[in-house]
């Protein structure tokens, strides 16, 4: 029998591993800072510059932990496990390097641009269009390298982990392309092609599937390789892994609407999301049970081995989060959890528990292997485990507590029928929980620092195994399986079919370019009185996006009595037809703003943006003094109007030439009203634009009094 000798390259795996750990520490540090900013708003430093305020920092945190930490973690796992599972080296070392450096460049660009305020205003898709293109290119490079390796494989059988990696690749490609359809206005500014309800749908179809196919399925692939290897035990039931893989990827795609319950999405779509989210419990728990049962008979090893400890808690947290998530997809539960800290708790159980701990376990296993030396300190790794677990608990419990306290306060009515609590009362009540959460996150980060030290010492003590040589039979396909030689070619051709299928699916994204046009044409306003934003308001909206106001404020009033009484008439789908992008928000750290227009005088907003505590004592909102010095970029008005019109917003033809005049008139009106309240400010400052935008919100449906009574409930 012919033996072939080749090597697995550990260089790329090591690079990705180091990147994972580094960005993990950075991303988590950003999270800790953001958490402390909520507890101690002085840490926004916004009196000095706008770049580190929570609204800009939080997206850097989310992007860092998702794409930099988990992203590099995925690649570490794939570049290590895939060759070994297929008995073939990664197809192209050069592509691997391009992939690596390309991805790290994306991360750096992301951090810089987000802090500078270049953002699309869509969660987990904030990066502007040039970076979106770069992401697509690098993702394709990754895909080619993966497919190439699969084509050249010596092991005919595709282990279940490989299926998870493949499904992740295909779906993430599709999601990224579809959600990133945006109309560029300038090099670093674009507007989402979709608007309002449409945009909300696409965003959360993307958002939940990003959770599914970026945070979950690749890590299931990771688990299916590293857990059995670390335990020295085969997966409990390979058959179960097959069943839960296929059912998981079929069901996950439909769960997205659970982010939009009680919003303006049609009822049947909401129900679809709920039903599929509940069904998702089974395949998810299939994965959890498979992982845990693999350790049957090896629980004594779990006691001794930090790697297994991390894996056990990771898989358990996965099970908890995948039960909690479906529960939160039930409308009655969602009524409590949406916009609250419960969502945050849920996310972090998955992120810190599943993604974090699985990554740590993998690293503690991988470094000794790659450096051919025992782990520097088992004891320290054990300490990390306990610290990390404590961190997760101290993160989640305050958040649950905060969510429930907030809910009961927000919906409380006095016997006379008034709201019992103001929003500020709730903010003040949950402050201690924010402090506790920040401490929990800090503790978790300390554990990560211990890990970095441990792994660094391990690397120093060892000899890096640049290449691992193996000898395998030339083509295992020939010696195994019931198929005879005639089918050999056909079998070899099948991976190409797989590749082609994947490319077709991704290519549909290109075809889909035509569909938004169709969408736009049929996007007839359903409420006559709703009109496009004025040029001044458009600038103001871009400021709202730039400073990340959506990270703390929602713009979607749900049809609950307590919400309608507090915020005004519940939000209708037709109100958002010109919102490119939509800004419904996900969290109410601050109050909902859907009908803030006309509630307060211009001077209130003026003072509030300069120093929120002057109008709302006890506020934790950052201040935005720079808006009073910076000028409205009127040279961009024309391109913004042009972009909006191209997407179907009915600005009259040639309006660009008049837009700045209208802008000036409206700005001067606001400046005049401010002057009446003894405030002197030039009409060309950005604060004027922001005030214009805020005063517009939610006022359109009152314009012709189309049956919308203040405080009326269905």
């Amino acid at each position: 029998m012919q033996l072939e000798r080749f090597s697995y390259d550990n260089t790329i795996s090591r690079m990705f591993a180091i990147a994972t750990i580094t960005w993990g520490a950075v991303g988590m540090l950003l999270g800790v800072i953001a958490a402390f900013q909520l507890a101690f708003p002085v840490l926004n430093f916004s009196e000095y510059f706008p770049h580190l305020a929570f609204g800009r920092l939080r997206p850097v945190h989310t992007n860092a932990v998702i794409f930099a930490f988990v992203g590099n973690g995925i690649f570490t796992a794939v570049y290590y496990a895939l060759p070994r599972l297929l008995k073939a080296p990664m197809w192209s070392r050069r592509l691997g390097l391009i992939h690596f450096w390309g991805w790290q460049s994306i991360i750096v660009l992301a951090a810089l641009t987000l802090l500078m305020g270049f953002t699309t205003g869509k969660e987990y898709a904030e990066l502007e269009w040039p970076i979106d293109i770069l992401i697509t290119l690098i993702w394709v490079v990754f895909g080619i390298n993966m497919m190439g390796t699969i084509l050249k494989r010596r092991e005919r059988h595709l282990y279940v982990a490989i299926w998870f990696f493949l499904a992740s690749w295909v779906t993430v490609a599709m999601l990224h392309i579809v959600n990133s359809f945006e109309m560029p206005v300038s090099l670093m500014k674009s507007y989402s092609w979709y608007a309002g309800v449409q945009d909300a749908l696409v965003q959360w179809w993307y958002g939940h599937n990003a959770v599914a196919f970026f945070l979950t399925t690749p890590y299931l692939g990771l688990m299916y390789y590293f857990l059995p290897k670390a335990a020295g035990r085969p997966i409990y039931s390979y058959r179960l892994s097959i069943v839960h893989f296929w059912s998981l990827i079929f069901i996950y795609i439909w769960a997205g609407p659970h982010h939009l319950l009680y919003t303006a999405l049609p009822d049947w779509a909401q129900s679809l999301g709920t039903v599929f989210s509940i069904m998702l419990i089974l395949p998810s728990w299939g994965g959890m049970l498979n992982g845990l049962f693999t350790l049957r008979g090896a629980w004594d090893r779990v006691r001794e081995d930090p790697v297994l400890k991390f894996f056990v808690v990771a898989v358990t947290c996965y099970g908890m989060a995948t039960f909690e998530g479906p529960m939160m997809s039930l409308k009655n539960v969602n009524a409590i959890s949406h916009y609250s800290d419960w969502t945050i708790a849920h996310v972090h159980i998955g992120a810190l528990g599943w993604n974090g701990f699985l990554t740590f376990g993998m690293m503690y296993w991988l470094f000794p292997k790659m450096f051919n030396t025992p782990l520097y300190s088992r004891k320290l790794a054990g300490t990390h485990f306990w610290i990390g677990t404590l961190g997760i608990i101290l993160y989640a419990i305050p958040m649950y507590w905060s969510a429930f306290r907030s809910y009961f306060m927000m919906k409380a009515f006095t016997p006379e029928g008034q709201l019992e609590y103001q929003f500020m009362d709730v903010v003040q009540t949950v402050m201690p929980f924010y402090v506790m959460r920040a401490l929990g996150g800090t503790i978790y980060l300390v554990g990560v620092v211990l890990m970095i030290y441990n792994l660094w010492k391990t690397a120093k003590a060892g000899n890096f195994l640049k290449e691992e040589f193996v000898e395998v039979p030339a083509t295992i396909a020939e010696t195994s399986g019931p198929k005879d030689k005639f089918w050999h070619r056909v079998i070899e051709r099948k991976p190409v079919m797989l590749l082609v299928l994947s490319l077709i699916v991704v290519g549909i994204g290109g075809l889909v370019e035509m569909v938004p046009t169709f969408l736009v044409k049929s996007n007839i306003p359903t409420i006559e009185s709703v009109k496009p934003y004025t040029p001044l308001e458009l600038h103001g909206r871009d400021i709202y996006l730039r400073d990340g106001c959506y990270n703390c404020h929602s713009q979607m009033i749900r049809p609950f009595r307590h919400e309608v009484v507090r915020y005004g008439e519940y939000s209708k789908a037709g109100e958002f037809v010109y919102d490119h992008p939509f800004q419904w928000g996900s969290k109410r750290t601050g109050p909902d703003l859907a009908r803030i227009g006309g509630k307060y005088p211009d001077s209130w907003h003026f003072h509030h943006m300069y120093d929120p505590t002057s109008m709302a004592p006890g506020s934790i909102m950052p201040s935005y003094p720079y808006l009073f010095d910076s000028k409205i970029p009127v040279n961009t008005t024309a391109s913004k109007i042009h972009a909006m019109r191209k997407m179907g917003v009915p600005y009259p033809d040639g309006y660009e030439s008049q837009a700045n005049e209208d802008l000036k008139v409206q700005a001067e009106q606001i400046a005049a009203s401010l002057k009446n309240d003894k405030i002197e400010i030039a009409a060309d400052r950005e604060i004027i634009a922001l005030i214009a935008y805020l005063q517009r919100l939610g006022t359109d449906i009152r314009a012709t009094d189309i049956g919308a009574k203040e405080g009326s409930v269905q």
Binding site: V160, A167, V170, L201, P234, Y238, D300, G481, K494
Partner: protein, 57 residues
């Protein structure tokens, strides 16, 4: 609400793609043996990653 159509379409295409991939894998015999793959991955190299025998505990 027409974007629903778009998303349904895309999701169905992806789901359909997965279905085709499933059919391919069954035809290719990927699931003929659901016993050995779990054990096969444990046999690699010589640096102690071999299967731990059940007698060891």
């Amino acid at each position: 609400m027409n974007v629903l159509l778009l998303l349904l379409l895309i999701s169905l295409v992806i789901a359909g793609g997965f279905l085709l991939a499933f059919f391919w894998s069954v035809r290719d015999g990927q699931f003929d043996d659901d016993y050995s793959p779990a054990r096969r991955i444990l046999f690699e190299g010589k640096t102690g990653s071999g299967k731990t025998k059940k007698q060891d505990n």
